[in-house]
Amino acid sequence: MQNNLLGVLKEHENKLLAIWSQILLESGSGDGAMEEEESKEFASLFLNALAKSDDNDTHEFEKVQDLIVGISSSRGKRGFSPRENAQYLISFKEACSKILSELITDPATLYDANLKLNAILDDMTIMTFEAFMRGREDIISRQVDEISEISTPVITVWEGIVALPIIGTLDSSRTQVVMESLLQQIVDTGSSIAILDISGVPAVDSLVAQHLIKTVSATRLMGAECIISGIRPEIAQTVVHLGIDLSGITTKASLASALQTAFDMLQLAVVKRKKIVE
């Protein structure tokens, strides 16, 4: 008994669960903070591990750790607050302490037991934090992927002409995605002209201009022509003030005039039909 101070908790599992949910409720954690099933599973797994050994190093605790990591990361994804997430284990520790103080009367032994309990549960609390953050980070990285996909729709505007409106700031990684999808679309559709519309790009600095020049060069290497449209007057001004040379690139003020240029290149003409009078 002496070397397994915390093993006794196993015998009071139900009481522990009751106290735990009570504390969680009092601490103001929202509804569903104490989910019966997963909490029961955690408590029983944890107490079993304790009964076998109260040393945190053994592999008995690995299962418990896996479980709590799983719980925290799913909580992170479901939008629980970090406070609620931390409160979960902290209140469990409080409940354990409460029961221990009822069971153990000798202050020295009680202190020892609490010390061990703290060591084990504090370690797990840190893990839950990491898992919680990872859960959130997964969401963020998935959203980043989604945003970059959503923001690069390549449109076939005419047979042989594709257009790509860029909305938002152009940075290196975004340019790479833009370039890749534009060039792939050129191959897939066999288009010989690509229009890159930058009306939705808030500012053009020398780096963005560099990226645009690179895109045009890559398009030409593949055997297609690239027109940049949607150049607002203030962008034309900054480009000149920054001393950026865009002379090798066909630039147009609007998508409409870019399309007109593309038609000219393909020797196409849009004509107004005469009204047929019956």
Partner: protein, 138 residues
């Protein structure tokens, strides 16, 4: 954050014919971690540039391919080790347009632009070691 090596292999490069198999091995490492075609192409092109230097200036040498991870990011690292004459002025060699051999002088600086991490160490008379890393989402 520290970089961890998951998998590693070494090959000796002494002739030009060794280059194509090496490029394929590097590609396999890229495919294994799910690297995009574009990043694979950049990595293999960089490898191709550096292995040419290894053969031309270093008289052949050793190439180590590693699958590495740092935090949540996975990548491929390739190290080129030769025992050739070494580079006298690395800063000069890293400048755009500089070349001693018969090439365009795009070698080192161009290669650096293709990868995420580029490290070069050289000692006159003791050879050159170049390490490049390309991250999956880099």
């Amino acid at each position: 954050m520290t970089t961890i090596t998951n998998n590693k292999e070494e090959s000796l490069i002494v002739r030009e014919q060794d280059v194509v198999p090496l490029r394929n091995r590097v590609k396999e490492y890229g495919v294994k971690i799910g690297m995009s075609i574009l990043n694979q192409t950049k990595l293999i092109t960089a490898t191709s540039e550096l292995v040419r230097n290894l053969l031309k200036y270093g008289g052949g040498g050793k190439v180590i391919i590693e699958s590495v991870s740092k935090g949540r990011e996975n990548g491929v690292r390739v190290t080129f080790i030769d025992k050739g004459p070494g580079i006298a002025d690395i800063e000069l060699a890293m400048k755009d347009g500089y070349s001693t051999g018969k090439s365009l002088g795009l070698g080192l600086p161009g290669t650096k632009r293709l990868v995420n991490e580029f490290d070069i160490k050289s000692e006159l008379g003791n050879g050159t070691t170049v390490t490049i890393t390309k991250w999956k989402n880099g």
